[in-house]
């Protein structure tokens, strides 16, 4: 099917173009990794700059791991990402299912409200959101970082699209067998929409790990920072130690890149689906 010989014929020019693009995409990562093994002196003072490290220096990593609360920062990010992702995936599946398969009064209006929130840029609501979180006494807490991210309009929308294609007979069969509505959701609906849920899991985890602006507003305490905030703080106090900063950058990127490489198939499929629907 796919092999259509006449059509897919990448010439040398195509490959050169792609290889050049791939080199540009990869270069900053390579450069970061190489520099993380150089000493501060080598980075700052060698003219012209070396490409490969002269000596294999691990001081940057040791500094980050043992003299900065790096583990703490990673755990903060992990905690925020896991809790919000679990909440978003569960609530999106549940609400998406309710909107796809039930009839109730106010359904159309309330769904329009959910859709409308999709169009609101974060910058527009960050000021009052900050005030709400401060009135709730959640400033400078991880709960404050997580609270606005427990539901996702995009997730609800995506799960509703998937739930609409589940045949109603499946649910009716469950009802005849006397299953509760929650039981039907958990045992019949969830297995049917697993692809949507796993794509949503990865999207949300990644967005949470990389979020910067909201933690910047909520968190002051260095020990409560998630990694993206922490790396910029760390960069600020180590401006003259690029080796430490490069090592910290490697360590901040590593977990999320591993997650991406493991789940890339689901990710790419999910992204393609959200773009084609």
């Amino acid at each position: 099917m796919r092999s259509g010989m006449h059509i897919r014929r990448a010439g040398i020019v195509t490959y050169l173009f792609l290889a050049a693009g791939a080199a540009v995409a990869m270069f900053p990562f390579l450069w970061m990794i190489l520099n993380s093994f150089k000493t501060n002196k080598e980075i700052l003072l060698t003219v012209p700059p070396t490409f490969f490290p002269k000596t294999f220096y691990l001081g940057g990593y040791l500094k980050v791991l043992f003299e900065a609360p790096f583990l703490r920062w990673t755990l903060n990010s992990l905690f925020i990402a896991v809790v919000t992702t679990a909440a978003v995936v569960f609530s999106s599946a549940l609400v998406g299912y309710v909107y796809a398969k039930f009839r109730f009064s106010g359904k159309k209006t309330s769904f329009l409200i959910i859709l409308a929130t999709l169009m609101i840029p974060f910058e527009v609501i960050m000021i009052p959101e900050f005030l709400v979180v401060s009135w709730l006494g959640l400033l400078n807490t991880l709960s404050g970082v997580m609270a606005p991210s427990l539901v996702s309009a995009f997730g609800i929308f995506m799960c509703r699209q998937f739930c609409e294609s589940i045949p109603g007979d499946l649910m009716d069969a469950g009802r005849i067998d006397g299953a509760s509505e929650l039981g039907i959701f958990l045992r019949i609906v969830v297995p049917e929409i697993t692809p949507a849920m796993s794509a949503l899991t990865i999207f949300n985890f990644m967005a949470s790990w990389n979020n910067y602006v909201w933690p910047l507003i909520v968190i002051n305490d260095v020990r409560k920072m998630p990694v993206s905030l922490a790396i910029s703080y760390f960069n600020g106090i180590h401006a003259v130690h690029p080796s430490y900063v490069m090592a910290a950058s490697v360590l901040v990127m590593l977990p999320i890149l591993i997650v991406y490489l493991i789940f890339q198939r689901q990710f790419v499929e999910g992204l393609a689906l959200s773009g084609l629907k």
Binding site: R2, F51, V124, I127, E181, I217
Partner: protein, 293 residues
Amino acid sequence: MRWRDRERFIFFSLLPVFLLLAVFVVLPIVFSLVISFFNYNPLSRHPPFTGLENYRNLFRDPVFLKSLANTFFFVGVSVAINLVLATLIALSIDLVSRLGIRNLFRTVFFLPTAANIAAVAIVWSYMLDPRFGIVAAVLSTFGVNVQFNWLGDQNLVMASIITLNLWQDIGYNIIIVLAGLESIPRMFYESALLDGADRVRVFFRITLPLLARTMLFVSVMTIISYFQVFTPVMVLTRGGPNHASELIGVSIYLNAFQFSKLGYASTMAVTMMVLMMVLSLLQMRIFRANWEY
């Protein structure tokens, strides 16, 4: 009995979601509007009501007007380059027939998008450093010995931010356009080639029209998301030098949380919301018009 179970299920499924949406989205929008009519700062107990004064000041504020102009420039240039480049790369990947190599390219081009953007911005700031950065070193090996201050020169900073943002973000569109290309049935191409059409003709007569909906979706989403770019600017320049890289989101943040002018910043936020609403309405118009085929 069963009826009650069903209603209870619907009610308790929706309740928490709507509570959260009300507290963290709907209420804040209303707040934004209200605060924008006050001279609000978090320390004063009774902020004075100032009516439309914030709005009048806003459109006479050279810094805000500059950030608005910066944002439009940033979005216009970035979106145009993004769409052309993403389409070119996706088309090229689509020409590769070996599945493993296709997937490899897809993975590589998406990698920057998955990486933490704050960390990416910091790595770039070192690459662009005029003294020990790799960019300066490469330029000097080609005989260019001018020390470009990529992030510190107000004529260069926007170009630097645009490049960084494109490098980081283009993976999304490559994947979506590629998925669009893959969904075009092969036989369309085959019959065109049998009829003797050349590649360029095939692209403009078959690929592009069939890709129209994907392209429309991609451009709308990219425009909306580029109006909200914040992190790279905040990490690298905080809008400087001389407001040359100040985008509207950064402006809102700085006014609200650095200068404690919450009312004034809310005025900017409301203006931005109106702007985004107009864009969204336009988008819906276009989408509906194109829904037919």
